[in-house]
């Protein structure tokens, strides 16, 4: 029973298209995140939601729009895809706090590899 699950795992699309990645966690955590991992494995936080409210919004283009219908779900919609959006996108969750609260532990999904052609 997967704790943090993302779909799709792989996504190949053309420049200019719009796509979404979905994330669900069954851990009962309050906080969820989207991270972007580039081709050099560098991990950068994009967004963080706590109980459906946006609490971290790093310098990410407006083409990226997160949506949290409830605290167990955090979806990522990307408009007008560009070549530079190609990356692996990781969803994560934690119990409390924007960095994991007083336990500090984030639980990651397996990633969604986006390739923009």
């Amino acid at each position: 029973d997967t704790a943090v699950s993302q779909t799709p795992k792989y996504l190949v699309t053309q420049m200019g298209n719009d796509k979404s990645i979905k994330c669900e966690q069954n851990l009962g955590h309050d906080t969820m995140y989207w991270y972007k991992q580039d081709s050099k494995k560098f991990l950068k936080i994009m967004f963080s939601y706590n109980n459906k409210e946006l609490i971290i919004n790093e310098t990410v283009p407006n083409r990226f729009s997160p949506k949290s219908p409830d605290k167990a779900h955090l979806n990522l919609h990307i408009n007008s895809l560009e070549l530079g959006d190609s990356a692996v996108y990781f969803c994560a969750s934690s119990q409390g706090g924007a960095g994991g609260g007083n336990t500090g532990e984030l639980f990651f999904g397996e990633g969604s590899r986006l390739t923009v052609l």
């Binding site: 936080i45 994560a92 924007a98 960095g99 994991g100 609260g101 336990t103 500090g104």
Partner: protein, 113 residues
Amino acid sequence: AQSVTQLDSQVPVFEEAPVELRCNYSSSVSVYLFWYVQYPNQGLQLLLKYLSGSTLVESINGFEAEFNKSQTSFHLRKPSVHISDTAEYFCAVSDEAGNMLTFGGGTRLMVKP
């Protein structure tokens, strides 16, 4: 603001040899420190963490890390590595309120037979 530097992007090592993966951080406040591991085509998993107390922390699979406040370091060590330890290792830091986990650039550990 916090930052994390992992000095080595790749560390090749032979099986059963010891290894050290280096991590230095900078922060103006007290911090929590973590090592995460990413096996190929998988998400990150917590390997070990320092929150408070003993500065030497251990994982269940033989890794250990020591928090050194004066040197602002949290190096990861294992006395004898296995092929199965081949993975990307990420050092991370958050402030003591648990806000904003910041990752280093990662170190690829490559264990050769």
